[in-house]
Amino acid sequence: MKSLLFKNRSMVALWLILAITFVITGIVDSYFFSIPSIGITLQLAAPLGLLAAAQTIVMLTGGIDLSLAMIATGAAYIVSVKSNEGLSTALLYALLFCIVIGAVNGIAIGLFGVNPLIMTLSMGAILIGVFTVGVSTFLRGSSRMPDILVTLSSGLIIDPITWPLVIWIIVGGLVHLSLTRTGFGRVIYSIGDNAKAARLAGIKVWHVQVAAYISCAILGGFAGIMLGGQSGAVAISLANSYLLPSVAAVVIGGTSIMGGMGSYSGSVMGALILSVLSYLLATLNSSEAFKQLVYGGIVLALAWVYSSISERK
């Protein structure tokens, strides 16, 4: 009962923070309260929400994926280049890429005990190298996204509902359900909470870790394709600026970086808060220096507020 109360209290705090940033943004820019601009904010929040889902899964196991941005970029890049061979082939290639990279991450971390931070940082560096080389050799081709994916990533259904929002709700809902209602979700929480106890209880910990990193990579690929569709063409730096926000959204949403504690619903709130915040910073028309400064400062402040609330349970 106490944990339920605590959970509600932190959710209330997140709603409050979201409401405050929402109102402040509305005061600064009165256009923000219109239906189209809310639609755009939600549309831009969708890829971040998917990346946060990916990050939530691995962070619940006690890991982290710092190669996520490059996985996302890579998947988008593969789709854009291979789209001349047909859309389904292109998507298949991208899926295969995500599975392979996720599996390599998961096996190295789960089976060989490589520190997740080092593994995924290095994987990010390796992927940057591979794609930098690939652009001029084995992955030469058009970097334009196929039209159908552009529509699915930024098309409007009825204001303010956009296709990416619908996709986010469906995929995010599946992630939420599988984390809360299935055996997969339960083992993810249990190995994050105490890997040794989980092993003694008969869970094959490394299987779970491999599955977690593969799901993470696939979700990242989804997000990358969506980002590519939103910008129309894919560059090698496509998802780079989303790496910190993906971690920040999860942390603000109350998922412990040590694993075992947190929820995807929290991460969704985190993603929404950060999206409203970047809208605010964009409308302030300030210098890049100021934006970076405020963004970093607010992420830190929110994480701090959150951790002090959860300490007072």
């Binding site: 060989f112 390796i126 940057i128 190298g129 080389v133 942390v251 970086i257 970093g296 951790s307």
Partner: protein, 316 residues
């Protein structure tokens, strides 16, 4: 303090690798004299200083993903205010820069201790703040430094003595005394086990503040070295991210365990030579330097993997 043999074995292995790579690189060049040695040293000084700072923090059980941003900020501050000034003013700003870096480090450590948020999260966030500050000080490439001051750091003409000193003086003057002092030992203590250290009477939060402050001093030295070598400020987030990545890779290659409490600063300094040689040698063959990122990443993973397997075997 007891020095484990395996730790030294690792340093010797890295030293062997460095010697092999040096000969390899030497063969690529038509002449391999004092000037070439100077070029190599100037290339590794910033990486090595940053790697030492990162290693120190990792030894103390933390990690600083903002260390590259810290160095870039100091680079911007010193290059902005030393442009067209006298030797003394440049030196003054270099010292101020290092003090600012120590202060930033201490603040980071204080936030981590006070808030209870994980090091990774705090430093990811501060990296944004610090790059923002760097852009604030110096919105684009520019700045400069007194030429005599630059040459004191980077050496006059062909002489490689100055960069060699810049590389080894911090180890001799900061690390060796520190390692033997109470503070240094308490760094290892909180790195091995915070609870055990606390129960033995170590003030964990104060030690962590000092830990990040010393890491900051190395980052500040790196920033000043960048100013002296490039004689300009380059406020780019890409540079700071690559630098941070390299510092972690060098720490790991240099035998510092990410679990904390194990390793020294000499290994990482040597390992940064390896990280410098890989792209340089590849460029010498006309290979796209992007490949070197692949090799460097794979090498880092491999080292951690082997380290992990060795530890698992020793436990059995």
């Amino acid at each position: 303090m007891r020095i484990s043999i395996r730790e030294q074995m690792w340093n010797i292995a890295i030293l062997g690798l460095v010697v092999v790579l040096t000969f390899w690189r030497g063969n690529q060049l038509p002449i391999f004299g004092s000037y070439e040695i100077k070029t190599i040293l100037l290339g590794i000084v910033p990486i090595a200083l940053l790697a030492m700072g990162q290693s120190l923090i990792i030894i103390g059980g933390g990690i600083n993903l903002a260390i590259g941003a810290e160095a870039i900020l100091i680079n911007c501050i010193t290059a902005k205010y030393s442009e067209g000034t006298s030797f003394i003013t440049s030196l003054k700003w270099a010292i101020i820069g290092i003090l600012i870096a120590a202060l930033i480090g201490a603040t980071t450590g204080w936030i981590i201790s006070k808030s209870g948020i994980a090091d990774i999260v705090v430093t990811l966030a501060t990296s944004f703040v610090l790059i923002g500050l760097a852009l604030f000080v110096q919105p684009g490439p520019g700045g400069g430094v007194n030429i005599d001051f630059a040459q004191t750091f980077s050496g006059k003409g062909d002489s490689f003595i100055a960069p060699l000193l810049v590389l080894f003086l911090p180890i001799l003057l900061i690390w060796l005394p520190l390692q033997r002092s109470r503070i240094g030992i308490s760094f290892y203590a909180i790195g091995s086990s915070k609870d055990a250290a606390f129960l033995s009477g170590v003030n964990v939060s104060r030690t962590r503040i000092l830990l990040y402050a010393f890491g900051g001093i190395f980052a500040g030295l790196c920033g000043v070295a960048l100013t002296a070598i490039t004689q300009a400020a380059s406020p780019f987030a890409v540079i700071s991210n690559t630098a941070t990545l390299n510092s972690v890779a060098a720490a790991v290659l240099g035998g510092v365990s990410l679990a904390g409490g194990v390793g020294g600063l000499f290994g990482p300094a040597l390992a940064s030579l390896v990280l410098y040689y890989i792209p340089t040698i590849m460029l010498g063959y006309g290979i796209d330097p992007a490949y070197s990122q692949i090799i460097q990443g794979a090498l880092t993973v491999l080292v951690v993997l082997i380290g992990g397997l060795l530890r698992a075997r020793n436990k059995r």
